[in-house]
């Protein structure tokens, strides 16, 4: 807060440094210098402002070379700006300078406005600072926790969780896949062929209790292999009238009645 009204008097080097530390950056210092011109911010002389800033920075550098970078960056930029502002009007570079000066002036006005806004806010009676609300507010709300919060999604989630847990607790037994094997087919054929004196279709020898199509096909294959095996050993005879036609089998017992038609 050492910043205000320190610009009119020439500053000693020490004071200058202290002075710089009191600013929140180059823009802050520029605004303070501009305000010292005691004119409307819309009509400040940017050129004079640049000179003042550069003088302050030059003074500060003489005693402290490691001046913060942003002060120097601003100084460099203002030097550039000054060079443009000194050019005769009409040159492109001079126009550039004018535009840059206007941007700077606008930024200063912006900051100035926000300063004023902060001051305006700070001057208001603040709650907890100057004015106070009721220290012991009362609450008339009574909570009633007797009701139940139930909804369908929760019920569904609960049901699924219960079922999952229920099944998880049961011992896992893989479903027994019982396929009709060749051994089974051999046994069955041996038993059945005795009671079937005539040619019979192979699928008649499938077991009665078959699950799905898979089991049926497995049984059919096993029975075919079994019958081929038995035919090879001469226990039975087989024949097929047409390609993909039914495969017929019969026992060798009745071989007297029939021509051998192997295969």
């Amino acid at each position: 807060m050492a910043a205000v009204a320190a610009n009119d008097a020439p500053l000693g080097a020490e004071a200058l440094l202290l002075h710089l530390d009191g600013f929140d950056g180059p823009l802050d210092l520029l605004l303070d210098l501009a305000r010292a011109q005691k004119v409307d911010l819309a009509r400040i002389s940017i050129l004079a402002l640049v000179d003042q800033y550069l003088a302050v920075i030059e003074g500060a550098r003489r005693i402290r070379l490691e001046l913060a970078a942003d002060w120097l960056v601003m100084a460099a930029w203002l030097t550039w700006l000054k060079s443009r502002l000194l050019l005769p009007l009409g040159l492109t570079a001079a126009d550039e300078g004018e535009a840059a000066a206007e941007v700077l002036a606008a930024r200063l006005r912006d900051l100035q406005a926000m300063r004023a806004a902060a001051a305006w806010l700070g001057a208001r009676p603040q709650l907890g600072q100057e004015v106070f609300a009721r220290g012991a507010p009362e609450d008339f709300a009574e909570t009633d926790r007797s009701g139940l919060s139930l909804d369908m999604p929760a019920l569904m989630r609960a049901y699924m969780a219960a079922l999952r847990r229920g099944t998880r607790h049961k011992q896992y037994r893989p479903a027994r896949i019982s396929l009709w094997g060749v051994k089974d087919a051999l046994a069955r054929l041996a038993v059945l062929l005795g009671s079937l004196p005539d040619w019979s279709a192979l699928d008649q020898f499938l077991p009665e209790t078959l699950g799905g199509p898979l089991e049926r096909r497995a049984a059919l294959a096993s029975t075919l292999i079994a019958s081929l095996e038995m035919a090879r050993s001469g226990t039975i005879r087989m024949r097929q009238e047409a390609a993909f036609g039914p495969i017929l089998v019969r026992g060798q017992l009745s071989e007297a009645q029939d021509e051998p038609d192997d295969e």
């Binding site: 139940l148 139930l150 909804d151 049901y159 079922l163 099944t167």
Partner: protein, 195 residues
């Protein structure tokens, strides 16, 4: 000093009013005396302030050895409002309820079988107290266990018109586990409470 109570200085009244208003705890007469200018009589200020607020929506009352503004009791009664904070059912209760809903009528042992966990009496009582389940006769098996089913209040709680409005089990379970307890092949029959 006269013996009759003089009307205190209005500024003292304002300060006392503001102080008691802003304080989080009751303001003692002693604390008020310290805040008031020298020579001010806290008792007189308090009495005047109390008189000013008499019959109003807010009153100055003496509590816990100090003074505090409090809402007039008759108004407090009118401003009272009940905020409903519904409880959630514990998980076990919710699961049990769901199983009973889908498998009713179902015995306790069957619920335990499906959940794969014992069903505590507390859980059963909670559901009974909430009026969500009720006994539905006994199973004619050894021990004649009680069978449970849901109540009309259950339907009301979940906004169901009918038990058939429960989502189909098939739609719930991607991989349908096969509970050993036989579930009704279709949906449970709707209860006809007034049949």
């Amino acid at each position: 000093m006269t013996s009759e109570p003089a009307m205190p200085d209005p500024e003292q009244l304002r300060l006392a009013e503001a102080l008691i208003f802003a304080s989080a705890t009751p303001v003692t007469a002693r604390a008020l005396t310290q805040a008031l200018p020298d020579g001010a009589e806290a008792e007189a200020v308090l009495a005047a302030l109390q008189a000013r607020y008499a019959g109003r929506g807010v009153e100055l009352v003496e509590v816990a050895g100090g003074w505090q503004f409090r809402t007039a009791p008759d108004i407090a009664e009118r401003l009272k409002r009940v905020v409903k904070v519904p409880r959630r059912l514990p998980r076990a209760a919710m699961e049990t309820l769901a199983i009973i809903a889908y498998h009713q009528p179902v015995t306790r042992a069957e619920v335990e079988e499906i959940r794969g966990a014992t069903l505590s009496q507390t859980t059963l009582d909670a559901l009974l107290d909430a009026g969500l389940i009720m006994p539905k006769g006994r199973r004619e098996t050894p021990g004649r266990p009680t069978m449970w089913g849901t109540t009309p209040a259950f339907l009301a709680q979940f906004g169901l018109a009918d038990l058939r409005d429960l989502p189909r089990r098939e739609d719930l379970l991607v991989e349908t586990p096969t509970p050993t307890v036989e579930a009704p092949a279709t949906l449970p029959e709707p209860e006809a409470p007034d049949a």
